[in-house]
């Protein structure tokens, strides 16, 4: 794909073709990220001062945390990833974005769906299924919007100049299929008029959560990282055979994980998931090796730029996936089940892995599509440190606190309140991390917002100039 850079006129044209839909996708995503992190802090406040929202039904922990989680996944991660996918597909195809107005409509529809869903949760209309809390109207909007964006992505892929597929293609194309299939299946079964009886509901929700938070995000994140890493390293992706092997094992084994070991379901379900999780260490290891071999010794430098974000994301992928899969081991799951540990792993996946990769990608892509540098590059560099330190400070206390809480819960001589109190201390430390992440996401929002305003002002100027100038000179002469 380095060839694409040689023909710079064509590259500029491709970048410009993505401008409008990407601005809509990234702008909304940055806004939802800020709101999601802020709501997460509001939720955590319930553990600093339990009666803070005693008279405010909208911000009970159950409302605020669910809305915050969904804002990170549906508000930020998926639309931002879709924007990056559109751009990468156009670049790899060496063709302008196909049907650019369709993803623009999709982006606006998507953000409307997220707004409706979030309001729905805060007003008490959550469905009650983890990660599928958005009420039916919002879910329908999200699915329709996703299809609109995916159609444009698939068309761009179809118009590619070179028939050969690059590894990023496999990952990102599968990611589109993954979301479309799992989101439609889960919502059709759970939110239709006649949901299945009993725990079958919970099994479907677990299948959905695993296939989005683990497999889906891995496909998006690694697909994006494998596009950028060779560019930053200045050499091709190492070992394409390895990558193919990792891709196949990830989708084959990863898709079967996700049923918790303690689940009150027939034993074959958690047993299958535990075995799948064991096998899923293979792709996680293989993907980490590919990234390592691509970067190591290439003179790749970690800094505040997009490269730093993406490297942090890849490292977070390896670490969070490792912990996620270890949780499925029956021996360890008994220690950390029902504690803050699992919550910490999920937040690491959402913010540390996919979040960092997407923020880095947005900083890299936005100046290209807008054909001008970032308005506040210093803030962008600062936001790397805010995000990196903030995420570690947020997640690691949760993991340690979770283990501490789990060990105390296992020992019935320790009163329950003492087990909770042990985790509370760590939880309070983690809130400082959330504050840093909030500052980091504000830096991102500021950059995207200023760029959007500049662009809109530019458009307005062109329009005004077009109205004024030719009329005076042209009309008189003719």
């Amino acid at each position: 794909m380095n060839q694409t850079d040689s023909n710079s006129a064509a590259v500029n044209e491709i970048d410009a073709s993505c401008r409008v839909p990407l601005l809509a996708l990234f702008g909304g995503a940055a806004l939802w990220l800020v709101l999601g992190v802020a709501l997460g802090i509001a939720a955590a406040l319930s553990f600093h001062a339990p009666d803070m929202f005693a008279n405010c039904p909208g911000l009970t922990y159950g409302h605020a945390q669910a809305a915050a989680n969904d804002l990170l996944l549906y508000g930020f991660a998926i639309p931002a990833a879709l924007g990056v996918v559109l751009w990468i597909f156009a670049r790899l195809s060496r063709a302008p974005l196909a049907l650019p107005m369709v993803p623009l409509a999709g982006a606006n529809l998507w953000h409307l769906g997220v707004l409706l869903g979030t309001l729905g949760i805060l007003l008490g209309h959550s469905t009650g299924y983890p990660w599928l809390e958005y009420p039916r109207p919002a879910a329908v909007l999200l699915f329709a919007a996703f299809l609109l964006v995916a159609i444009s992505a698939a068309a761009t892929l179809g118009f590619r100049a070179d028939r050969e597929l690059y590894p990023s293609h496999w990952f990102l194309f599968s990611a589109l299929l993954w979301f479309a299939w799992t989101y439609s299946t889960a919502n059709l079964f759970l939110l239709s008029g006649h949901p299945p009886r009993g725990v079958a509901q919970a099994v479907i929700a677990w299948w959905f959560a695993n296939n989005n938070l683990f497999v889906g995000l891995a496909l998006f994140g690694i697909g994006i990282a494998f596009y950028f890493l060779p560019k930053f390293a200045g050499r091709p992706l190492a070992g394409s055979g390895y990558t193919l092997f990792a891709f196949l094992t990830l989708i084959l084994f990863g898709a079967w994980c996700g049923i918790p070991q303690s689940a009150p379901v027939p034993a074959w379900l958690p047993a299958t998931s535990a075995f799948a999780a064991l096998l899923s260490f293979i792709p996680v290891l293989a993907l980490s090796i590919v990234a390592w071999k691509t970067l190591f010794g290439s003179g790749f430098r970690l800094g505040g730029g997009p490269a730093g974000f993406i490297l942090f994301g890849v490292l977070s992928f390896a670490a969070s996936a490792f912990l996620y899969l270890a949780e499925a081991c029956p021996r360890y799951s008994r220690g950390v089940d029902f504690t803050w540990f699992g919550f910490g792993v999920t937040q690491w996946q959402l913010l540390g892995f996919i979040g960092m990769i997407l923020v880095g990608a947005i900083y890299e892509i936005l100046p290209r599509t807008m054909a001008k540098p970032l308005p506040a590059p210093a803030l962008a560099r600062l936001s790397f440190y805010l995000f990196a330190i903030g995420i570690l400070l947020y997640v690691i206390p949760l993991l340690i606190g979770g283990v501490e809480q789990g060990l105390k819960l296992r020992d019935f001589h320790v009163p329950f309140a003492a087990a909770s109190a042990a985790a509370l201390l760590f939880l309070r430390v983690s809130t400082t991390g959330q504050l840093l992440v909030l500052l980091g996401s504000l830096c991102l929002l500021l950059n995207v917002l200023i760029m959007t305003i500049q662009w809109k002002l530019g458009l307005l100027k062109t329009v005004i100039a077009a109205i004024k100038a030719p009329l005076v000179t042209g009309e008189v002469k003719s």
Binding site: F47, P50, D51, F53, A54, P57, T60, Y61, G62, Q65, G124, S126, G128, Y129, P130, L157, G158, R163, E164, L165, W170, F173, S174, L177, W178, T185, L190, P195, P196, R197, G198, V199, A200, Q201, A202, I204, W206, W207, N211, L248, I251, L252, A255, W256, I259, P260, S262, P264, V265, L269, F338, T339, W340, L409, R410, D411, F412, F416, A417, A421
Partner: protein, 293 residues
């Protein structure tokens, strides 16, 4: 992986297989579940919820209670327990000697330490646990020797594990328990205690309402947020309302005011009361207390 179609095919097969295994198969195994028979009883499990309890499940969903509370009990295993209920006309000291003399019986021989050891410090108080462990031949052998002497014992099957010891239930949760839940909210975090059997642990409606209004008024070290918006604080007109909460002085409203639960609060509390200990089932057996003979 040269063509788009081959990528699509591979991804389709991979996700399709997991869809078949983790969505389609559970739908067919669990999605058509019916009530099951309770062990050694003509009744079926689970009972259908009625009235406010059904509506209360919706309040539980609405405020996201499952974000902090699980509704699933884990169990590590099952044990056989033999309790001594009554000695009849015999003395405790005689019983100890008699038990020692029984150790020549081949089935009991290898258990002499487990059986006689703990009893050495026994002061004669009843009931006392004679045996607690995985073996059931020892229990059969003991009962056979003790019954003719008029010594009453109670042999029980009990579930073991930290959740059970904490009193969160008498057995592990199983799929059948959630038949009437819509939606099924198992929960994944225990920021607060498990609620599987909260209705059995705290069977008083007023306790539940007081706990929702001011958690620390009934559980001193609780970290639960108060749900005061589920209650109405209003001036007393004439006589105090019969449903007004009786609160400790430091949590009570100013003089002349009373705290009255809204219908939503009442439904939630009634739902919580409907959460009882699971009945013994084929897949999760235990001997209920009432069946002791």
């Amino acid at each position: 992986m040269k063509t788009g179609f081959s990528v699509f095919l591979v991804a389709f097969v991979a996700l399709g297989a997991s869809w078949f295994g983790l969505v389609y198969a559970p739908l067919h195994q669990l999605g058509i579940e019916k009530q099951t028979a309770i062990l050694q009883s003509g009744d079926t499990w689970p009972p259908q919820r009625t009235g406010d309890a059904t509506l209360g499940l919706d309040v539980y969903r609405e405020y996201g209670c499952a974000a902090c509370h699980t509704r699933q009990v884990r169990q590590t295993g099952v044990a056989n327990q033999l309790e001594l209920i009554s000695l009849g006309q015999h003395q405790a000291a005689d019983f100890k000697d008699f038990l020692k003399s029984l150790m020549v019986v081949p089935e009991l021989n290898s258990f002499s330490n487990t059986l006689c050891g703990p009893l050495a410090q026994w002061d004669g108080r009843l009931p006392v646990t004679l045996y607690f462990g995985p073996d059931d031949t020892v229990i059969a052998a003991l009962v056979e020797k003790l019954k003719p002497l008029g010594i009453k014992t109670d042999a029980r099957v009990v579930a073991t594990g930290a959740d059970i010891s904490r009193g969160w239930g008498l057995r592990q949760s199983v799929a059948a328990d959630y038949l009437y839940d819509q939606p099924v909210e198992l929960g994944s975090l225990r920021a607060g205690p498990d609620l599987t059997a909260i209705g059995a642990r705290e069977p008083d409606l007023n306790w539940q309402l007081q706990h929702l209004y001011a958690p620390r008024s009934v559980v001193a070290d609780s970290s639960m947020p108060a749900f005061r918006f589920l209650f109405e604080v209003r001036p007393i007109s004439g006589r105090p309302a019969p449903e007004a909460l009786t609160l400790k002085a430091e949590f009570a409203p100013p003089a002349g005011m009373e705290v009255v639960p809204t219908p939503e609060a009442r439904r939630l509390a009634v739902y919580l009361l409907s959460l009882k200990t699971g009945a013994p089932l084929y897949e999760a057996p235990y001997t209920p207390a009432t069946a002791a003979k």
